[in-house]
Symmetry: C2
Subunit: 353 residues, 2 copies
């Protein structure tokens, strides 16, 4: 385990670390003491039936949901719902390579086992059931890797998910996305400071993390984001200043092994694991009322990949979000972003199921 | 200078190395003895007015034009036209970092000066005029960086270019493209074997060149190329086999400094240098009859960037090429690609000017 001040309450506000005990993993091995970082908003009613579950994306945590997506003016309204956001395994807040200590000391750093999207969802379901007594979810949602987890919930626990809204992410990861994850991974592991995962500080890998940020610059935003210099709205004076002042510090603060654990998981998200590779059969299990929400300018989870899956989900609807930022529109930087998400989620939550 | 067998007649067939003498460069410095690799097809007529000029793209040479674009069944018909293909400076065949020797020994490897698209076009015009006596071109064309050179011809020498067909490339490079070039560059320079440009063999930089190929895999083809497994048509059994058997050996055979010289040039292609940054004024100088040919699935020279420029060129037409391969459709792998190019170029060549 190594110290990294980014993964702290100072940077991520209120959350609880809740142990769900030993988690046996789909790829083999286990996490002896799986701890999940959990942020909740609102109050669980006595019937335990007003819960919404939210999962996180690559490099993201509950923080962005608290700051952008959740509030009395939003569809994710804590005055009405009990909203549970769980940071994914490998996020740096939940059990992750860099923070594995105590009973998890044997899986620290380069010893961390391969974790699948399915492992996250198994852990999340156990947490909700055993810790909160929640057996039914009014809505499951999340963006990017959070969408992958949403799909896993829809297929693995169809009886528990009344409504679902995967945002900017797919049920079955695409080969292009796999290659994008490979390029991101290699940007980090090629840094001699990474040292096979046994670096002493994330600062040892600053060059690799910076290159990793540079690849995100190419794929994370749309070509028009750069052409129209949308970063000016964020009060940067040049694209170089935007990289140096936003995207690079964002990633260089993080732990390399944690990012690698998430990248590996992201590359292999696939609900068709449950049905021998048959995606239509897997999505045929879904009973949730589902809205699929792609972002129109997304470079690596393009709209057409969402459509191909949405058409396999009975009664589902496609709701395309217009955002020039592309995939990283998920940060909610554009003033028009969250309003679109809210409108779709409100309509979905108002739908009787 | 270092030996690299890839840059040879064995791999690139017939071409002549022609010196155009000293080339003073836009960014300062000079190439003492600028040698251009030149491949010609057909016969120059007595009036010297049946010439077509073709320039090359990043990592490409005259070879791909000889094999795919030029022939009696193509628009670039050597039975009718005298077709001159010049390999760009830095291509590895013309004067380049790795092959600088003799009078150019002082600019070898890490000492190689910055070369601009404008330097290429100055060199090409001098070659055509002094060596062949060509003052008028029936057509100037090229793909990607060849399109950048085509635009430079159109703006710099409008009286010499009767027709122009930039394919999958822009007159003014976009910021997104600049960042893509940055990621490619960093994949190479981050390899300790690159050694500040003073490696002893391109094999010393095989890791960096392989990562560079991996980033091309993400941006060079379309997301649908990978999803539909189009590589199967090329007789590969998996995307990994396609990378290991095609894209990686393609780039690892090349010289790192040569690729870096081309990437630097590509990042800065901009005809508005001639008009104080006013792109409309620069393109307003064009008198050539122009067809702009984007590829519909191009990830980094997207159609809309072409449209924005095409609309600034008087009398020009937009002709979109349909190719699921995306940018690297330029290789002409899809059986439907070259037919579309031929149709547009034939129509353009048949247009009276």
């Amino acid at each position: 385990m190594i110290e990294n001040p980014f993964y702290s309450h100072e940077f991520h506000g209120e959350y609880d670390l809740i142990s769900i005990g030993r988690l046996d993993l789909e790829e083999g091995g286990s996490i002896p003491d799986c701890r999940l970082a959990v942020a909740t908003f609102g109050t669980l009613n006595d019937a335990c039936d007003n819960a919404i579950f939210v999962s996180t994306w690559y490099s993201g945590t509950h923080q962005i949901f608290r700051d952008v997506y959740i509030g009395p003016d939003h569809a994710l309204n804590p005055e009405k719902y009990f909203i549970v956001v769980v940071d994914q395994i490998g996020s740096g807040l939940s059990t992750s390579p860099h923070n594995a200590d105590g009973p998890n000391a044997g899986i620290a750093m380069s010893e961390f086992p391969k974790v699948r999207i399915g492992d996250d969802v198994i852990a999340q379901e156990r947490l909700l059931r055993e810790h909160f007594g929640i057996e039914t979810l009014q809505l499951v949602t999340g963006g990017s890797m959070g969408a992958q987890q949403t799909y896993e919930w829809m297929v693995r626990f169809p009886d528990k998910v009344l409504r679902a809204a995967p945002i900017a992410g797919t049920a079955q990861n695409t080969p292009h996305d796999f290659l994008f994850g490979k390029a991101l991974t290699e940007a980090i592991t090629s840094d001699p400071g990474w040292d096979g995962g046994e670096y002493k500080s994330n600062a040892d890998v600053v060059d690799g993390l910076t290159r990793h940020a540079g690849i995100w610059a190419v794929m994370g935003f749309s070509t028009e984001f750069w052409k129209q210099e949308v970063w000016r709205a964020l009060e940067f004076e040049s694209k170089e200043a935007f990289l140096a002042g936003f995207l690079e510090p964002y990633f260089t603060a993080m732990d390399p092994n944690d990012l690698l654990a998430m990248a590996w998981k992201w590359q292999r998200g696939d609900v068709a694991r449950h049905t021998g590779g048959d995606l239509a059969a897997a999505l045929g299990r879904v009973t949730a009322k589902t809205y699929v929400l792609p972002i129109n300018e997304d470079m690596f989870f393009p709209v057409r990949d969402h459509i191909a899956e949405q058409e396999l989900i009975k009664g589902s609807e496609l709701r395309v979000i217009d955002d020039i930022l592309g995939h990283l529109g998920l940060f909610g930087v554009a003033p028009t972003f969250i309003g679109q998400v809210d409108q779709h989620l409100k309509e979905l939550l108002d739908t009787k199921v």
